[in-house]
């Protein structure tokens, strides 16, 4: 199954339309991406089709969203130079520089 098209839910049958939020550019692994200000970094990554946010140190396995509320630390990335930052509870600010962690094989 294709993993493309992980998009935003713009209409919700209970919650209605997606609330307006200013958009901004964040830099992810040197590439500019569009994100919503104030959303979790992980939400911005998923909305841009990035679901592998780090690789495990020993086996180089992909890791991504797991608990979504900052408890499991599986989704850690580097934010503005600060490593081991939980992307699910760190909120997007304009110009943020994100590094997804890649281990060279």
């Amino acid at each position: 199954m294709s993993n493309a098209g992980r998009t935003r839910i713009r209409e919700h049958p209970v919650l209605g339309p997606l609330a307006e939020a200013p958009e901004c550019t964040i830099i992810v692994d040197s590439q500019p991406l569009t994100a919503r200000v104030g959303e979790p970094v992980l939400a911005a990554l998923l909305a841009n089709g990035i679901h592998v946010v780090r690789r495990s140190e020993k086996r180089n396995e992909p890791r991504g969203l797991f608990c979504g509320i900052g408890l499991c630390t599986d989704c850690m990335v580097t934010v503005n130079g600060l490593p081991n930052t939980r992307s699910c509870v760190t909120l997007v600010e304009p110009g943020m520089v994100i590094g997804t962690r890649k281990v060279e094989p």
Binding site: M1, P13, L46, P62, L65, C67, I69, V89, L91
Partner: protein, 368 residues
Amino acid sequence: MKRTEVPDVLVVGGGPAGMAAAIVASEYGAKVRIVDENAWLGGQLVKQTHKFFGSARHYAGSRGIDICARLVKEAEERDVEVMLDSPVVGVFDGLVIVAERQERLAAMRPGCTILATGAGENAIAFPGWTLPGVMTAGAAQTFVNVHRIRIGHRAVVAGSGNVGLIVAYQLEQVGINVAAIVEAMPSIGGWGVHAAKVRKLGIPILTGHTIAEARGTEHVESVTIQRVDKAFRPVSGTEEILEADIVCLAVGMNSRTRLAEMAGCTLMHVPALGGKVPVHSAGMETSIPGFFVAGDISGIEEASTAIEEGRLAGLSAARTLEAVSGVEYEERRSAYIEALAELRSGPFGLARREAKEEVVKSHERRYA
């Protein structure tokens, strides 16, 4: 931001239990501060888009998100001080250490402390469980309902308790197909009313089944399910491969007791409540005088129970501070305890009620 030096009542965790506790304690003039590690109040209520059951007192018919908004408003009106982005990182001999705004550490010794830290979700391990696409049911709910991300196309849900049933329904609501709900037990764990809703959508609920494996290279691409026997051993030859890119684990929760443990509170293991919980009195006081618990930290239950326990803990704290008269205290206390008994009735509530009674008895034996 308004700052009080040291609050009379410090509430750790601004979910349903914490907000309810703060509201009641503030009714008696106590200076109350809620600290929460998140960027917003509400705890896990912020993702509960479904309507609650029970009586009017417990907001029956209201959605979790609306109950959340009401509690936030009431806390604001009562002048409860709220400090967000501020995790409590330690409790040492009654001294509570808060990382204020994640920037500076502050140590405080409040008159009373109410721990309302909630719960974390359990997981089950199987080959492929670390693949992106495998997540807790709560993560799916958070990213779909709060952050509005279409996390995938087709899901398999593990666990048929209320969380699994509700999440399956909420995924379908946004067009994420649910291939199946698998349940290792021989019967459905959650309420009939939730099971009926997902069945109506045509989602199969496969009891006596488990997840054998999730396959994929960079993300889940398929999920192998398998029958289990009465001893929960997988039955070979019954494997079935489902096309799916999401696995939601709805296999229970456990109380977040770390701060209670650091504080030195006595814990006991109560399987019906999800595992280790702080021993507490009928009024929610732990083994340490002035330290209270409320909500899922004191045993895994529903949000409505958490709210009622929060009110009770807030009242008990006010009593400890001698801010409420004996007569009024007794009156309200009985009302809260009665309301909790009502919530813990019926086939689903009875086991929790008995378990809670065990916890309270243990407290009475050792600390009363």
